[in-house]
């Protein structure tokens, strides 16, 4: 048995196996909780139930063929994965992506960020017993899917973009759709806010639950909303502005205590910030003519020069990085994915010690662990 069990010397515990087929474990995570009464003394985590061998698969597919695989990493925000991977390869090849393509990428990434946060907030609500916000939010998520679908034909796993650009232009009715969506989103976020944020039951359930300090969070390798919830203002969009993010005006919300409530609030605010970014990006986009290039000039078969590269973007969950080593052939020599929740989930045991069983669920949901990118 693991170190957790060694740590808990007292015999006063019961093990409760949470997962893999547990409603709160999203199918593939497993935590063995050592509880005494309702208090969790510690948890042994077991992951790898969704280890699909993506990295090995990447070594056997061409650079292009790997794009659809990245969709399936963080399936809540597939597009962000695509973009991260494509940008890494582009960096390796030294390709400059046309502005219009970048704008489309930004719009889509932010949309997928909203979609991701919707899943998180909705599921957090469901796990804490409030079902209705999930449904309100999912209606809007459905609208986002609709946009994706009309953009390039798939709802979830878009296989968005190509190395060197994007594969198609925004549909003509994007503007109307976006405005509709924006209205709906604002309403849904507002309703969720009304139903949850100030409800004392919700506050009791989330405030002060599984907090983490900024130092610990950094040491564990937290990134993204979970890190910002601790008060560290770190957002790759601001700090290492890739693509065109430096041109946009948006806020990076930070929390203070790093507890579930802060993580939840950060996501709620980030959704609104993302909407702002999309608006700005779309304004820029509209200034460009219809025949602006969407693709950079890249060879038909992608053969980056020998070398290695690490590139990270701010995915909805945090720093999503791709390390790619190329040996000059048309297949990557080694792809290593740095998924954000992989590092975050490690800290789960430390977060949960001394909290209660119900908090285990709340904490897990608030960390937004996506098994697909956790296990790869």
């Amino acid at each position: 048995m693991g170190p957790v069990k060694q740590r808990i010397a007292s015999e006063d515990y019961v093990t409760i196996n949470v997962g893999p087929s547990h409603p709160a474990m999203h199918g593939t995570l497993r935590a063995i909780a050592y509880v005494s009464g309702e208090t969790v003394l510690g948890t042994d985590l077991e992951i790898g139930y969704l280890h699909r061998g993506v990295e090995k698969l990447g070594e056997n597919l061409t650079y292009h063929q790997f794009i659809p695989i990245t969709d399936r990493l963080n399936y809540c925000s597939a597009i962000a994965n695509n973009v991260a991977y494509e940008m890494a390869v582009e960096k390796l090849m030294g390709v400059e992506v046309p502005v219009k393509a970048q704008l489309i990428r930004i719009i889509m990434t932010e949309l997928s960020r909203i979609a991701d946060h919707i899943v998180l907030v909705g599921i957090l609500g469901v796990d804490l017993g409030a079902f209705t916000p999930f449904f309100y939010l999912f209606i809007q998520r459905e609208e986002i899917y609709e946009i994706f679908e009309w953009y390039n034909g798939a709802r979830l796993t878009n296989t968005f973009g190509r190395i060197g650009g994007v594969e198609s232009d925004l549909p003509e009715d994007f503007e109307t759709r976006w405005h509709e969506l924006k209205k709906g989103l604002e309403k849904a976020i507002d309703e969720t806010d009304k139903l949850l944020t100030h409800n004392r039951i919700w506050m009791d359930r989330t405030i002060g639950v599984t907090p983490i300090s900024a130092e610990d969070a950094l040491s564990w390798g937290f990134t993204g909303p979970c890190l910002r919830a601790c008060g560290v203002k770190r957002d790759l969009r601001k700090d290492e502005p890739y693509s065109l993010y430096s041109q946009f005006d948006f806020d990076v919300p930070t929390g203070k205590h790093g507890d579930v409530f802060d993580r939840y609030m950060i996501r709620m605010i980030e959704m609104q910030e993302s909407m702002k970014i999309i608006d700005q990006a779309f304004d820029l986009y509209k200034q460009l003519g219809p025949n602006e290039p969407l693709m950079a000039k890249v060879p038909k078969i992608i053969k980056p020069p020998e070398g290695e590269v690490y590139h990270a973007i701010e995915s909805p969950n945090g720093e999503l990085g791709f390390y790619i080593k190329s040996d000059g052939t048309d297949k990557p020599y080694r792809i290593k994915i740095r998924p954000p929740c992989y590092m975050i989930f490690q800290a789960f045991d430390e977060l949960i010690q001394g909290e209660m069983i119900s908090d285990l669920i709340a904490c897990l949901s608030s960390l937004n662990i996506i098994a697909g990118e956790l296990d790869r």
Binding site: G27, L50, G53, V119, F138, E142, R155, T157
Partner: protein
Amino acid sequence: MAIEAYSGDGWLLTKLEQLINWGRKRSPWPLPYGTACCGIEMMAALASGYDMARFGAERPSFSPRQADVLIEAGTITKKMVPILKRIYDQMAEPKWVIAMGACACSGGVFRTYSTLQGIDKVIPVDVYVPGCPPRPEGLLYALLKLIEKIEKDHPLHKKAVLLKGELQHGTQR
């Protein structure tokens, strides 16, 4: 027991069978076993837009004892195989399985060392839903197909045959 002696097509029993089938097909409680991306689409199917509850498939029951339809949505890795099998085994009869998505059906794009190439290798599958992920409509269509299949079932007949069979073969299993 009278039911045991059931042999063919008594009117009452046929009606009873129809009634049972009607009940079963109108209330297929799902066990949503969403392991990966397909799970998200399954959620979408359960959510407002498509609302699987209209078919009576509300109340997702995570306990296998209470569920009728195992919706296997997502990749099953080799590490997960024993768990999937166990959950299937622990479901109460009658039970059905929907394999949702390429991964569940055949392993999909993940032809790798750690992925199970199709859940039909370990548990029987009633309906396959190709797609990666299938649209929620695709899942609903599969559900409708499953309902069709349930309709054709002969619950009492099966039971009679089963009981007879057990009498003959003893308890070999």
